[in-house]
């Protein structure tokens, strides 16, 4: 493992993605942010000239004209800077997202999402956005520093003492804002939690309307709702009041500053050591300087937030190095989408899979898998059975490298180093207990990037007993299945997933329990077709008689261990658990 990068190094890497464009944006925004220095001086010049003799007053038009020209020109610059910056923003966002997604989907070794997909998406969106916001701060920084230092120098040349005096309340406000930062964030968080509690409860309530009505719990539920509302009201008050007061202080600080200039500059103005124009310079700079001070505070907070955000990105990517996540291979925005090469053909045919001491521990004390051994020969049919929670799914997922496991797996006698990248087509294919489809056409879902011919798709569809469903679909294989396949019934999703697996023509087929969505008749039909038309090797999780009767080998699991193995007939004699499962199992 290499060292993790610091927040600043991360920003440096992101800048390097397109250094030229970043520098361009940096310069443009430096110009934009620093230009008010000139505007202040021009306003000063106008009022100094107006206060002068009649001849001098006439020359006030010159600074007015320059002011107008600069004001318009500045906005042209803003236009260019803004569009260029957005391009950079979008490209870098997509770069980080692409790297992260690629790592999750393609990198070797087992990868279990530490978060729900919904939560993971918020890392893709919000945490990446935090990186970009901080990058944006760096674009703005140059101009802000120039203006800040420039205005202080100009004011100091007018009156050093007064300037020093003014900086004190400005700094104090900035420090106060900084100091209250955690407080504000805490209250904001409390408010968000209170809101989540309210909306969560509303969602649950209306998800459980029937139960509420049946148990006449309406009033009791509403009482709880009112309680949550009161908590939210209080949280909102605490949140809004603090933020608003602080915002008010920031906004009014320039008023206070100006008041100080008026009070303590009165003397200099009367003895003419300070001119009217110089007074207006102070008046123009102060509000902006206050804003910028607050901004510096924001940048510090953003620096911290960015560190936390990147920590979350690292956590999602589990074992990725920062280099993988910040990989600068450009995102493809133009031209042909590169073709995906099909799976490499295995030269060696499958003969034997042996598994020794396969174990897996769940992080939170759930029952895992302990020391499982088994062998599968070419063309055999192996059924894993057992009660719910006995580790059947875990066993196949550990074998395929979908969850991290220890133990020794040999394919034709050769040790498999990384099951996750080894157990893919054309060696093996898998249908999960709850398979996922994606919102594309049925054909794309089944082919899933294999350059499968129409012929092969048809065959897979027929094998998976999906053909009767297809006949009922107007658009056949071109039917769009909707997000996660919602437009299909549960059985259709499962049969499509089976077809997807069969289209790979893999040597070893792994099914994790088809029974939840396939009725008995369809499941028997699937096995029948599979045996007649292919000599595939199958590893199947099931408790249905149709599967058990066909098995060359049954592994009976209990609490993460294989407690009995053999053919059905032997097991029914030897194993009480097997007899139990058989008796209560569906025919």
């Amino acid at each position: 493992m290499t060292e993790n990068l610091s927040t600043l190094e991360i920003i440096r890497e992101l800048i390097r993605y397109r250094t030229g464009r970043f520098m361009f944006c940096f310069m443009v925004w430096a110009l934009v942010h620093a230009s008010p220095l000139l505007f202040g001086l021009l306003i000063g010049a106008v009022f100094d000239r107006l206060a002068g003799s009649a001849d001098v007053a006439q020359t006030a038009w010159t600074p007015v004209a320059i002011f107008a020209a600069l004001a318009i020109g500045r906005n042209g610059v803003i236009w260019i800077g803004d569009i260029e910056w957005l391009k950079h923003w979008n490209e870098v966002t997509l770069l980080v997202q692409r790297n992260l997604l690629r790592w999750l989907l393609e990198a070797p070794r087992s990868r279990v999402l530490p978060l729900s997909p919904g939560e993971a998406v918020s890392t893709f969106r919000d945490d990446v956005e935090d990186l970009l916001e901080y990058l944006e701060n760096w674009v703005d920084m140059g101009g802000l520093v120039i203006f800040g230092l420039g205005s202080i120098v100009i004011m100091a040349t007018i009156d050093v003492r007064l300037t020093g005096f003014l900086l004190v309340p400005l700094l104090l406000t900035a420090l106060l804002t900084q100091a209250l930062g955690p407080q504000i964030r805490g209250r904001r968080r409390a408010m968000r939690e209170a809101t989540d509690d309210v909306t969560g409860f509303v969602g649950e309530t209306f998800g459980a309307v029937q139960a509420i009505k049946l148990f006449r719990a309406e009033e009791r539920v509403m009482a709880r709702f009112e309680g949550l509302n009161r908590i939210r009201h209080r949280a909102a008050m605490r949140d809004t009041v603090l933020t608003e007061v602080l915002r008010g202080i920031n906004r009014n600080m320039s008023t206070i500053g100006i008041a100080l200039v008026l009070i303590f500059g009165a003397g200099q103005l009367t003895d003419e050591s300070m001119s009217l124009g110089e007074l207006t310079v102070f008046l123009t700079y102060l509000p902006r300087l206050t804003d910028y001070m607050a901004f510096i505070g924001d940048i510090i907070a953003q620096h911290r937030r960015t560190g936390v955000a990147f920590e979350r990105i690292r956590a999602l990517a589990v074992d990725a190095r920062d280099d993988d996540l910040l990989n600068r291979v450009p995102v493809s925005l133009q031209g042909e989408v590169p073709e995906v090469p099909g799976p490499k053909m295995e030269s060696e045919t499958f003969e034997r899979l042996s598994v020794r001491g396969l174990s897996h521990r769940f992080p939170d004390n759930e029952e895992g898998l302990e020391d499982v051994d088994f062998e599968i020969g070419r063309g055999s049919f192996t059924v894993i059975t057992g009660k719910i929670g006995s580790g059947k799914s875990t066993l196949v997922r550990a074998l395929l490298g979908l969850v991290p496991a220890t133990g020794e797996i040999r394919w034709n006698g050769k040790l498999v180093e990384d099951p996750a990248s080894f157990f893919v087509p054309p060696r093996s294919a898998y249908t999960a207990q709850v398979p996922r489809l994606f919102s594309e056409s049925l054909a794309d879902n089944i082919a899933l990037g294999q350059r499968a011919t129409r012929e092969r798709l048809r065959e897979a569809v027929q094998l998976a007993v999906l053909d009767p469903d297809l006949e009922r679909m107007e658009q056949g294989l071109e039917t769009l299945v909707g997000a996660r396949g919602v437009k299909l019934s549960g059985g259709q999703v499962q049969r499509s997933a089976a077809a997807r697996m069969l289209a790979t023509e893999a040597e070893l087929l792994v099914f994790d329990d088809l029974s939840s969505a396939l009725d008995l008749r369809t499941e028997s039909e699937l096995w029948r077709r599979l045996f007649e038309q292919r000599q595939a090797t199958c590893l199947v999780v099931s408790h249905r008689r149709a599967a058990l009767e066909r098995a060359d080998q049954i592994l009976v699991m209990d609490r993460g261990r294989v407690i009995a193995r053999g053919r059905l007939r032997e097991l029914l004699e030897q194993s009480a658990l097997m007899r139990d499962l058989w008796e209560t199992g569906e025919r």
């Binding site: 009022f47 004001a71 318009i72 709880r224 009112e226 939210r232 909102a236 608003e244 008023t255 008749r521």
Partner: protein, 590 residues
């Protein structure tokens, strides 16, 4: 369950939603008035402060004494501090008023929606309900705060600036008025651009993040099928589209932003020019010239607010109209005063028809179930089984005919007594993110002994003692197996101890061990009660007294179980030969 198509919502006219608004604001009249006064005072101060500065400049010009200048400075300081206090006060009051009014609205609306028919709820998702009860109401609170505080405040401030300018100097008045109206008009004409941009951005990010979420949810499928590279190549067109369309959307935003910025800076230039011109013409003092510049800057924020807030006002009004429509919906379930006795009761349907909109779900169904008998309901999905049970539990009211429990028409039954007399175990168990206790009692006060003894009867006693009654369950029953959830639902009904039980058996797969625990609990639940059970396995109805097969909204077979089993012609006997009632159900599923 079939959804109602296009529910008809009552038409709502503008004046009627004003009633909603006034209903909830009226009790807060005092605080609202106070808020308004504070707001006006703050606006007044904002108008006066530039005047102080102008006077200061003029006094410098006329070589006045230092004391006078310091005096103005001090006044300026005080104005700043008072304004600060007013700001804090208005934001406190505004927030308080907003939350007080809208929380009441939320609660009334929630209560009202809960009282609506299941027909309404079947057609809406919990997400929609969150949007109605929280989203729309929050929009209304925005309406209140924005309309009262921002829009009104901004309007008054603009008006104040213009009126004062006219008093100062006519030319100044004309120029500022023309400027303000011109900018308002210009920005108003561009008002739709940011809205369009926001909509487009929402759309494209929905596509991008939808893609990512979907693939992450299917991460195992993708990895185990070696489809990672393929998925990444599918990601490319999605990202290109995102890039192209967000850039286009952003351009629209930038147009508005740059235009506003340009006119505001041009405003400063204009103010300088007008000031210079009037000073040179000797019609105003230098202080007033500076006043023009200050006022030109002061009007920026209210101009932006007026254009933005008017826009948002329409959206808030939309929420208000929807709330009002919902408040006019009424439940069609009628209730009466008659109380049902405890103990097993008879159940009877008399010529009952039920239709969703135009679709007839039940067609003149009649049967009678004597007190204490167990009826097994069989039939295909969508045949009308669930509708029959929902009619008996009075979640639906028949379109025609009557449903009688304990020989009393449900329309005349007092609701509390019905709920005590009748218990229902549904297929999907609805759970709250709340303690085990609250999930069992549905927030009712019950003693621990009572709860634990009931849990013992359902076989969950050990489990509950192990994790404790106060342990919070995850939402949607996270951490509970399907079997445990079902047992929990049994326990709810045991706690209620009703004379009539309706059970919709889970069709999802349970492991054999759980099933045997469930079987014991079911037997206990049936003892001494009238039971209607929708069965998904024949095991369950082996103990039933009567069997009824329902298809296409009619009873196609009803009789004693033993007789039907003995009759080789009966559908029940045919099912027994097939061995799995799900074969019957799923033939409709393809």
């Amino acid at each position: 369950m079939t959804a109602l198509s296009d529910r008809v919502l009552p038409e709502v006219t503008t004046p009627s939603y004003r009633t909603t608004l006034t209903t909830y604001l009226a009790p807060l009249r005092g605080r609202a008035t106070l808020l308004l006064m504070a707001l006006l005072a703050s606006i007044g101060l904002q108008l006066v402060v530039p005047q102080l500065l102008a006077r200061f400049i003029d006094q410098v010009g006329s070589r006045a004494a230092v004391n006078g200048l310091v005096g103005i400075g001090v006044a300026y300081l005080l104005a700043g501090i008072v304004n600060q206090l007013l700001d804090a006060f208005t934001s406190y009051l505004g927030t308080d008023i907003g939350w007080s009014a809208t929380n009441r609205l939320r609660e009334d609306l929630g209560r009202h929606l809960l009282s609506l028919d299941m027909g309404y709820h079947n057609d809406t998702t919990p997400g929609e309900m969150i949007e109605r009860v929280d989203g729309d109401v929050t929009a209304v609170s925005d309406f209140i705060s924005r309309f009262l505080v921002r829009l009104l405040g901004a309007g008054v401030l603009l008006l104040g600036v213009l009126v004062i300018s006219w008093f100062e100097d006519q030319v100044m008045g004309v120029s500022l008025t023309v400027y303000v109206l011109g900018v308002l008009g210009l920005l108003w004409s561009l008002r739709n651009l940011p809205v369009q941009a926001a909509e487009e951005e929402r759309e494209v990010s929905a596509v991008l993040y939808g893609f990512i979420e979907e693939r992450l949810a299917g991460i195992e499928d993708i990895r185990a099928l070696g489809a990672g590279r393929f998925t990444m190549s599918r990601f490319i067109p999605v990202t290109r589209d995102y890039y192209r369309r967000t850039t286009a959307a952003w351009r629209k935003r930038v147009i508005v932003w740059v235009t506003a910025n340009t006119v505001f800076w041009a405003g400063d230039a204009l103010a300088l020019a007008v000031g210079t011109w009037l000073v040179l013409a000797d019609s105003i003092t230098i202080g007033t010239a500076y006043l023009i510049l200050q006022y030109a800057q002061l009007v920026r924020r209210p101009i932006e607010q007026v254009t933005q807030e008017l826009q948002r006002l329409q959206k808030a009004a939309g929420g208000l109209i929807r709330i009002d429509q919902l408040r006019r919906l009424r439940t069609s379930i009628s209730v009466g005063e008659r109380r049902l006795p405890q103990g097993p009761l008879s159940v009877e349907l008399n010529e009952v028809s039920f239709a969703y909109e135009d679709r007839l779900v039940l067609d003149r169904v009649s049967f009678r179930l004597e007190a204490g008998t167990v009826l097994g309901l069989l039939g295909r999905t969508g045949g009308g089984k669930t509708t029959i049970t929902r009619l008996i539990s009075h979640l639906y009211e028949p379109t025609q005919g009557e449903v009688r429990v304990g020989d009393t028409d449900l329309k005349s039954v007092e609701p509390d007594s019905l709920r005590r007399a009748l218990g229902v175990v549904t297929q999907d168990v609805q759970l709250f993110r709340a303690s085990v206790r609250d999930n069992l009692t549905l927030f009712q006060a019950r003693s621990d002994e009572e709860i634990l003894s009931v849990l013992d009867r359902t076989g969950l006693g050990d489990w509950a003692r192990l994790i404790g009654l106060d342990t919070e369950l995850g939402s949607g029953g996270q951490g509970l197996s399907a079997g445990e959830q079902q047992l929990l639902a049994f326990a709810r009904v045991f706690l209620q101890d009703p004379g009539v039980v309706i059970l919709d058996e889970p069709s999802s797969r349970l492991d054999p061990a759980t099933e045997s625990v469930l079987a014991v609990a079911t037997e206990r639940l049936f003892a001494g009660r009238t039971v209607v059970i929708i069965a998904h396995r024949l095991e369950t109805v082996r103990t039933a007294d009567e069997i009824m097969v329902v298809d296409e909204g009619r009873i196609v077979e009803h009789g004693s179980r033993t007789e039907l089993a003995a009759d080789p012609e009966s559908r029940y006997a045919a099912l027994l030969r097939l061995g799995d009632p799900r074969l019957l159900e799923e033939s409709g599923d393809l």
